[in-house]
């Protein structure tokens, strides 16, 4: 699917009012259809590299062109199937700018779930990995307070989804609810020009919820191969929190990752916002830092950058929001800084990029 087709579909959904009052269109008693999308435009004043929506994208805004719709625009559709007796399934297809430079739709979720009780379930198939506090809904702009998940936090982990089996267990202790998840399987992620493959993937995740406060911790481990290199090991630990009483919020996330070949990565962000009617202004500080002195790859500062972000979300209509986001990114390395691709010979450590993002998010 090319970009124009995706935009045409997204615009017709918006214009022809297929945005009912809630997510989910019941087709019959078994099937519910829903969808989401983002139409975005990004401007970057930095001519020595392209700013991207995540490190898998092959181009963006800045060097190739000043304005680009590719970092954030996407379109997704989902079918939920409920067969009763605890058996259900979900399939989600998403089209966004991919490593090949097109909008070919791919399966993001495709699994069947069996609930033994209301607190214990097992799923078989594909799921998005719960590695970060918001990684499992990062493609759904409407669920985020910002235009996108900070690029730095996403940089440490090459895999976004897992194919395998996982067990979900909910434990209630007084007013504290814990959602435990254990996942086994494998993963593959296409990069521009190479494929990252992981096997023996294990993910442990725990989300603690106490009223308006939540804490998320996760651990991930796998054996990976990348671009024909010998198999190596990857581990990642992450911890995040959110406090959201309704009128304001504060949230943060962090992770520490280790690749046998690429060394260590540490990334974190802190963000806060205030809700003023239908407007939610926010700020984010995010950073990625590679602390290893001499990894086998020889790349000692892979991904390093810092970003200061200010923006506003405006919930201007039912199931629709508009976001304006201003960012100042400090480039701390010439080894693939987290937000950039197509680095030019004129790029220098210490360069700053000013980035403006506009987005309309919708769900139906």
């Amino acid at each position: 699917m090319n970009f124009k087709l995706m935009v045409a579909v997204a615009v017709s959904i918006l214009v022809f009012g297929a945005v009912p009052s809630r997510a989910g269109i019941p087709i019959d008693q078994y099937v519910t259809l829903s969808g989401f999308g983002t139409l975005g435009e990004v401007y970057s004043d930095y001519r020595q590299a392209d700013f991207t929506g995540n490190f898998l994208q092959p181009s963006g805004a800045g060097h190739s062109r000043s304005w680009s719709p590719t970092p954030d625009s996407d379109l997704g559709a989902q079918a939920d199937v409920n067969l009763g007796n605890g058996l259900s399934g979900v399939v989600q297809v998403i089209s966004h700018y991919d490593p090949d430079g097109n909008y070919k739709p791919r399966f993001e979720w495709a699994n069947i779930k069996y609930a033994f009780t209301s607190d214990l379930a097992v799923r078989l198939g594909r799921t998005l990995l719960p590695t970060y506090e918001r990684s499992d809904s990062e493609n759904v702009g409407y669920t985020l307070p910002w235009v996108r998940l900070p690029n730095e936090i996403r940089y440490s982990n090459s895999a976004t989804h897992g194919d395998g089996i996982d067990v979900l267990y909910r434990v209630k202790t007084g007013a504290v609810t814990q959602d435990l998840q254990v996942q086994w399987g494998r993963t593959s992620e296409e990069f521009p020009g190479a494929v990252f493959r992981g096997k023996d993937l294990v993910v442990l995740s725990d989300t603690l919820q106490y009223g308006n406060a939540s804490v998320h911790v996760a651990y991930q481990s796998m054996k990976y191969t990348y671009a024909g290199m010998p198999p190596a090991h990857f581990r990642l630990a992450s911890a995040g929190f959110t406090y959201d009483p309704g009128t304001w919020f504060v949230t943060g996330d962090s992770n520490y990752a280790h690749y046998d070949f690429f060394g260590d990565f540490f990334a974190w962000y802190l963000s806060s916002g205030v809700r003023l009617g239908s407007f939610t202004p926010y700020a984010i500080y995010s950073k990625e830092h590679a602390p290893t002195s001499a990894p086998p790859s020889g790349l000692t500062s892979l991904g390093n950058e810092r970003t200061l972000t200010a923006g506003v979300r405006w919930d201007f209509a039912k199931s629709l929001d508009f976001k304006l986001q201003l960012q100042r990114v400090s480039i701390d390395t010439l080894d693939a800084p987290a937000s950039f691709t197509k680095l030019q010979p004129g790029a220098r450590v210490g360069d700053k990029a000013n980035v403006v993002s506009l987005a309309v998010d919708f769900v139906f």
Binding site: S21, R22, A23, S137, Q209, G246, K318
Partner: protein
């Protein structure tokens, strides 16, 4: 002059809204146990299971008022929270029923269902679990 006319108009609107805002109550089946305001917020924001919450039509006056009082959130915030649950395959938002009579009917028929209606609509088929004011 203009300012005082505007203030008078605002006061009038506020007074009218005050008179029209009816008290909302959370109802459960007469056979069901007690429930706290925290539990209601958790149920309607998808943070816990166990009981099955049912909704009034999204955007209706009682829907808006209920979420404001029970969860401190407006329609867009509630929508964003449920979108996250939906699009991570973790569940569907509460079933929407057409009116208070339908909510009462659903609650009366099943001890696991929780709903909310105007206080004036309560009858013997259901039990008031929690007044919201």
């Amino acid at each position: 002059m203009k300012t005082s006319a505007l203030s008078a108009l605002l006061l009038g609107v506020l007074a009218a809204a005050g008179i029209r805002a009816e008290e909302i109550v959370v109802i459960v089946n007469p056979a069901a146990g007690p429930i706290s305001k925290e539990q209601i917020a958790d149920l309607y924001l998808g943070r816990s299971g166990g009981l099955t919450p049912v909704d009034q039509p999204v955007g209706s006056a009682i829907y808006v008022e209920f979420y404001k009082k029970a969860t401190g959130r407006d329609i867009a915030q509630v929508k964003a929270l449920w979108s996250r649950i939906l699009f991570t395959g973790r569940g569907l938002p509460p079933k929407q029923l057409p009116d208070s009579a339908a909510v009462k009917h659903a609650v009366a028929a099943n001890p696991n269902v929780v709903g909310y209606i105007e206080k004036s609509a309560v009858d013997a088929s259901v039990k008031v679990a929690l007044p919201l004011d």
